[in-house]
Each structure stands twice: as C-alpha cells, then as structure tokens.
Symmetry: C2
C-alpha cells in the first residue's frame, strides 16, 4: 500500500510502497480517510523534532488522522465505525505507568513514542493498525472533518490545565490572548468563546485569511511588529489568560507581565535552545506578588479527544470553510504540505467513507 | 498603649505610645496575645518591602498575630474568643471585587493594604481593632501558638494552588524539595508528609537547629553550596514538587530542570530586580515537553487560616519546641527581632490569656 513518509537524508516527504499492516490481538485495522498537516509535521520533516522508528530509515508521517474500522479483529469496534487515533504509544509495546494510569499525555519524551512524530510510524498510509485502546470513535457525520479532532484536542488539554491551575479560587477571567495565528492558535481562539474579550497575535499584513478568521471569531488582531508581547497589557488590557502557540523562546518571559493579576499563561510552543538576558528578579517577583501561573502542555489524552469531538460538532459551516484551506488526494499529497500564507489547515485524503 | 513600630528614617523598630483603638461598627476590639516575626518584617524594617500608612511616619509592625476578643462590639464574636487576624484590608475601607468575592489573597498589590506590611498598621500593639470579617477564631487551647497560624496559612495556600495546577490528571507525587530552611520553608516541609521522600535546601553548616529539624521531619538536608539547585535531580532525584522560599531570583529558572515530568514549582520568594542570562529556549521547551507548571503565591485567605489551624493542632510537642526559638515580653521586644542562626521563629508576647 501507499504511504507518505520522510526518508533519512531527504528534505521532503515522498510516496512510498510499504507493507500492508496486519493487526495483532487487541488491534483494529483502520482504513485511513484523511490526515491533516501541522507545524509539527514540518518540524519533523526538517529534522528539528522527533525521529525515525528504531532501525528504520523512513517515518510514515501524519498524526492528525481519521479513519474507518475495516477489521475490528475482535476489539470493541464494528466494521464501519469512524475513529480518530491518539498519538502516543508505549515504547517497546510495554505500557509504563503513564500508559497504565491513562495519563500518557503527561509522560516525558523518553517514556513515549509518538506516531508520525517520534519513533513510530504515523497514519498517512492507506491503512493503519492501532491498539483499540488508542482509538476514539466519533460520529459518522464528523468523518470528513475528523482529522481536526487531534489538533483541537491539543488546545482542549492546554486550556483544561490552565483552568485547573486557577481552580483553587473564584476565578472570573474576561480577557484572553492567543500568541500565534497558526492553526493551533486559531483553534484555541474558538475554545475561548466564554471570555468577554479575546485577542490573537500574529505578524502578518492584511489581507490575510487568518486575520479575517480572527475577526470573524469576534477577536481583535494584534500585530506583534507594532505591539510587542510585553506591551499588550498597556495597549489593550492585562490578560487573564495567555495561550502561547508560537514556539518563540522569549514569549513566555515577555507574556508574564502582560498577564492580569491571578492570570495564567499556557505554553505550547517548542523552541530550540536560546540563551538571552532577562530580568529574572522582576519576573519572579511578578509571578509571586500577582499570584500568576504558568502551565506547559504537550499532546492530549482520550478525554481531550472526546471534548474536541464535541467542539468539532459545534463549529459553524463558515468557520470550517475558512479554516480548512484544502483537501488533497494522495496523488498530489505535496500540495497539502505547502506552508504559505494562503494555508491554514490542509489535509491529505487517502480514501472516502 | 504601647506598640512596636518602624519609624520613617529609622533602621530598627521602637516602642511607641499610640492611641488606644476604638472599634467602629462591624469591628471587634482584640487584646493582643502574641505576634510572630518573619523575613517580611525584616524586609519591611529595611525598607525593601511594603510602606507606611498614607500620611503617617510610622508603621506598627506585626502580621502574625493571635489575640482575645476584648469587646465584640456587636459582631459575631463573644468576649474571650481567641482569634487570628488575616492580613489584607481593602484600600480606603472600600472593598473592591477581590474582597467582595472573598479572594483578597489573589488581589494585586495595588488593590490591597497589608496590615503590618504595606499601608496599614500591624498587630504588634497591646490592642487592635479589626473588621470581624477578617478575624478567624481558633480553639482556646491553641492560643499560645496561634501566631503560627498566619505563616502556616502561607504554605497551605501555595500548596493548595500547586496541587490545583495538577488536578486535571491523576498526579501521584512522591518527591518534594523545599528551597529555603527559613521558617516558611520548614512549615512547608511539615505539610508535605504525604510525600514519600522530602528534601530541604539550605546553606548552613552543622550543627544547626534547622538541619536538626529537617532531619527530625524525616527529610534530607541538601546544602546548596555543594549541590546547586539545577543538579538536585541528578544528585538526588527529579522532584514532583519544588517549593521555593528563598527569594533568590535565579532559583525558579534553575528549579524547572530539577522538576520531574508533570511536576510543579511553587514560588513564594520576593526578589529585587536582577537581569541575568539564561537559556530561555531550553526552559520553555522543558516546561512544554514535560508538562511542567509554575504557580506564584502570596498571602492567604480565611480558608487557608482554617486549614492552618487544623495543621497547628496536629503538630507534636517536639516540633513546636524546636520551631519556636523564643517568646519575648514587650519590654525586651528587640530580642524577638534577632535574625541569626539560633533563630527559627520568635514572637513578642503582649499579654497572656
């Protein structure tokens, strides 16, 4: 069967012929419908993140997938069920404590593989197998957009943790800013609709499809070339919640001062090492004297996938039309990996329901 | 009546004659029993923290108090009730949203006064008045040590927030390190007795009363002159919880790498501005990829005082004997302000029950 993979030493993904997967006990065989692409895929392709499966020279890409159960193979599924796979798998197939306790998303990098990212093949192949425990079923009506469940779930988890950090008191957030107008940032914005006022930071000129979307979501676009992160509180207002989805290493440190008292900063970006000077004394004092919190978040678990499915079911048509920039057949998969300013979210279609 | 106060331009507290306080409607008159002293008092005396009440040239010290209701003045108290006052009061007597919602401890510095610290007289006077809403009653048997309720409550709140930040998943912490062997650090250590393994960091040589106490609490003493904060994970183990009570501005940055995956760093210190270089990229990535959290915490609210009262009631005699270094009569109040290595916690006694 065909799969889209990055090969050792190559700079772009290629279409490979790979063996048809055989489900083992406890695994279902899934026919892949669509697989979305995000910044992590581009980092994996560039070699800045993740790695090949042990002993192999290629990595099948794709961690944002939706498929149809082809062979339940004795698992709880029925043929035809629409499923979305979670991303993390135990190294060597030997579940450690994180997997046993159902908190694989909280595992450190060395206690997990990530399909399509780090050490395990992804889902961008015509079929894939997965332990049934790592498949979340979604309504059949959501099948065409089920590849959005995984990226939404990333934002769901980060916000769950951010709100948990403020659960020891009567927190009444009104303002939130998302740093980054990539797909993750825009999805986060859709989850903040309980906030009175929302903002999203980018570095783009109008006309731009993400700026249009930000404004259609009733949020205010902030151009960080005009308003640095640590001035957002002055130019707009102190923010009860800051959601960082840029991966720019200075942003967390600059964002603390933009937080309102008792506010929380959720970090999701994954920068490279970068040493710089900063007033650590002021930062430390600000965090303490204003009861601020910072939570890092990566990956997501089954209940975040369930919340994301619920979220997906509520998205209006106009949002989905604007958010999904293109669905590309396997024969022209390269078009789905285009990363320009006309793209918000693209997916590869491997089969249809 | 007598009060111990710091006067503008002076470097040491003095015994002053101040007017006897008259309770207004809603306020009770309290006869002060004992008032404890901590690092914040020394910072206030040195001028590094807090400030004088508006238009005045002295600040009555003391925010760790216990007293007996002398005149309930129509409030819910009865004469003879033993009470501990909380520290924060609304500026201009006009409760803002933080006070109205019962979350004064989450207010920013400009939305609150702090008795004995910032803008409002403290409790180190023979009598004080307080709105009944800011008095927490404690059992009469705890009266002699009731001055410990406030400092314990500071640790209770920080730990409540730290645990809240990890409440979105099945967190099973086993290891904790307290940075700082001052009274706050030692009190925090007593609250961590559910942890399998605890550690406390100081910079002192043996013999030392705090090291003895750390070891009697079954914790391991770590000398930071031998083991830097960012090496604790290698020399001992990664820590599920780090409780910072040093106020040293580099500690938060060094402590993140010592955290175990999914761990939390509680910050309580209040450093001065200090710019230095650190690898912000590594720090950012570590927080994200390992789902780490940081929570700042200052002050405490009535329910933390209640938890602290419960904690105080459980302390064994040996701990209290070791922790309280001295109770000093008002006539020799200066002895209570001694800040040397024989001192853990000292208090001034203004009257007896």
């Amino acid at each position: 069967m065909h799969a889209v993979a990055i090969q050792r030493g190559e700079e772009a993904p290629a279409l490979l012929e790979v063996p048809f997967p055989e489900p083992e006990a406890g695994q279902a065989l899934v026919r892949t419908l669509r697989v979305g692409i995000d910044g992590t895929d581009h980092e994996v392709i560039a070699g800045g993140h993740g790695g090949f499966p042990e002993g192999e020279d290629h990595l099948v890409l794709g961690h944002e997938a939706v498929g149809v159960v082809e062979d339940p193979n004795g698992t709880r599924f029925e043929a035809g069920d629409v499923v979305v796979p979670t991303v993390r798998r135990p190294p060597n197939g030997d579940p450690n404590g994180y997997f046993e306790r159902g908190v694989a998303d909280m595992a450190p990098p060395d206690a997990t593989l990530e399909r399509g990212i780090d050490g395990a093949h992804g889902f961008m192949s015509e079929y894939f197998v997965s332990d049934a425990a790592y498949l979340v079923d979604i309504p059949r009506s959501l099948a065409p957009l089920g590849f959005l469940v995984e990226p939404i779930s990333i934002a769901e988890k980060a916000l769950e943790h951010a709100f948990a950090s403020r659960s020891a008191f009567d927190w009444r957030p009104e303002s939130a800013v998302v740093l980054g107008n990539g797909p993750l940032g825009l999805l986060a914005l859709t989850l903040l609709d309980d906030m009175e006022r929302t903002y999203c930071v980018g570095r783009r000129d109008r006309p731009d499809p993400t700026i249009d979307l930000i404004e259609e979501l009733d949020a205010t676009y902030i151009d960080s070339r005009e308003t640095p992160i640590d001035r957002i509180d002055e130019r707009h207002e102190p923010m009860d919640l800051v959601f960082e989805a840029t991966g720019f290493a200075r942003h967390p440190f600059e964002a603390v001062s933009t937080l309102a008292p008792a506010g929380v900063l959720a970090l999701l970006g994954v920068p490279e090492p970068w040493a710089f000077e900063f007033d650590g004394g002021m930062l430390h004092k600000d965090i303490v004297m204003n009861n601020k919190a910072i939570v890092g978040s990566v990956n997501s678990g089954p209940h975040h996938f369930e919340a994301a499915t619920e979220t997906l079911s509520r998205y209006p048509e106009w949002f989905l039309d604007a958010f999904v920039s293109g669905i590309h057949p396997l024969s022209s998969f390269e078009d789905a990996f285009v990363d320009d300013e006309t793209t918000i979210k693209r997916a590869v279609e491997l089969s249809s329901i």
